[in-house]
Symmetry: C2
Subunit: 322 residues, 2 copies
Amino acid sequence: MSLPPEFALIARHFRGLAGEGALDLSDDAALLAPPPGRELVLAADAMVEGVHYLPDDPPETIGRKLLRVNLSDLAAMGAEPLAYLMTTALPRGTTAEWLEGFAAGLAADQREFGLQVLGGDTVSIPGPACLSLTILGTVPPGLALRRNGARAGDDLWVSGTIGDGALGLAVLQGRAPADAAGHLARRYRLPEPRLALGRALRGLAHAAMDVSDGLAQDLGHLCRASNLGAMLELGSIPLSEPARGFIQDDATWLPRLATGGDDYELLFAADPADAARILAAADAAGTPVARIGRFTLGAPGVTVLGPDGQAMALPRGGWSHF
Amino acid sequence: MSLPPEFALIARHFRGLAGEGALDLSDDAALLAPPPGRELVLAADAMVEGVHYLPDDPPETIGRKLLRVNLSDLAAMGAEPLAYLMTTALPRGTTAEWLEGFAAGLAADQREFGLQVLGGDTVSIPGPACLSLTILGTVPPGLALRRNGARAGDDLWVSGTIGDGALGLAVLQGRAPADAAGHLARRYRLPEPRLALGRALRGLAHAAMDVSDGLAQDLGHLCRASNLGAMLELGSIPLSEPARGFIQDDATWLPRLATGGDDYELLFAADPADAARILAAADAAGTPVARIGRFTLGAPGVTVLGPDGQAMALPRGGWSHF
């Protein structure tokens, strides 16, 4: 009896990615001896073709983005990567070249971030590709960063720059002119999980999360989890050089960048007295951070201050699937 | 800022399913202190609307099947359920009633099998629903059942009955007449993970796997993993009352049932000297088992013996996605 194609597909493209406990991806399940003295951190994110990535994105970056959006969840918890499981629902016309690129992207990021695949499933779908990844990480017990620990008076910080992912998508969809160096499209396709910063914030940040659905909306989640209000200073949001160019040409981009998705930066709360320690930790992690507001007593919710210091309304509340 | 619908959806339908470490499904990831002195067992299976279940299947059984096909992988490893993560990619038209039924099915099986959801993701898809579940279980270290331990001369056993799932699908698609009691459709929609049997086989079976893509094809996997041949006695395959009725009317059903999918029974190898212990373990687990062949030296592959004892070819090699 010859092997049917999906087994050949798994053997050819995915077996080389497998970690020790994956049993060559040829058993019913994987085995994992949990690292002693550590707590497990688990998250799962799905990506759908045409929703979370563009059909003509390079397969390498699709594989890497799938891993990175999940790594970003580990970063937000201050966790270190351990392993992952992945299910891929692929249209029947998926080519070997696409699969090679997708697996090569996963392989590159496995090496970069130090984790391996433990198992998964490969099935067909009469529709767009649907990719799902479950990631496992570890933290020292009790030290995971959470969303619910912010305190009134805490500074609000964010890592990296905001809005590049949303601008990159606009560029790729022809809704905005491209930047010369392709920085924006790259930021959309290849988010940077802030793992080193997340680890450095353990025991220092009072609360943290990753920004994936828009800064203002995600800050609202942090507020609700911590039962606090927050002031967000639009003029303090860190922007890349290309993003600043867009805003110079059209000031209405600024509020739109604060509600666009695909940032995958860390948003966190810390005692103002710890500002110097935060900056030192960020420096050691090689990730810039900026103070963009503060947490306040009051009903959970976000007050946005425009560059003129006046409260203002944002255009929309972030990305929603339904 | 009002909550966008997917957060309301998660809060309304899925939060009640969440386990202790799920952090109310409102953090970036879940926390899990691994049970001390146990090895983790991990598997992930995806189900696509129209491929793994029928669009008009009741949402309750879709949720339960999603959990059960994964529980079946744990059963095949001799593991006990611990928790799961789930991603759902749903068409925008998905109704609240569908979600209520889907979540109610998950809730019922969480109670029946003793596990809870830890996290996941809910996204939209411009196509058929795509559901992915990652399951976590535990075993005492070193006692997981594997596929690669069968020995020449071992008996080949299978649990329950074979072919009901494939017949149930044929009934639901109008390709076969319905049985009076609806047993077959129910077996397609609601597989029975053989968890108690799997646990009872720890230290007793030499190799095990679950049958999901067709008995003959999956036996081929067991043969390759153990580097053995196998004789499969078609006439010894355990059949339900309705399946026997089909074969009485049309003998060509028998080989087709041996290659149909959706059985979710355990296929395992054991020393013939342990036959009485196997039967006692199966009896204690409340799951019937039948001896359906044996493992042989030689090139990996399955020789099928017809009811007349003569070697015969099967119609096709089982379900393939591509």
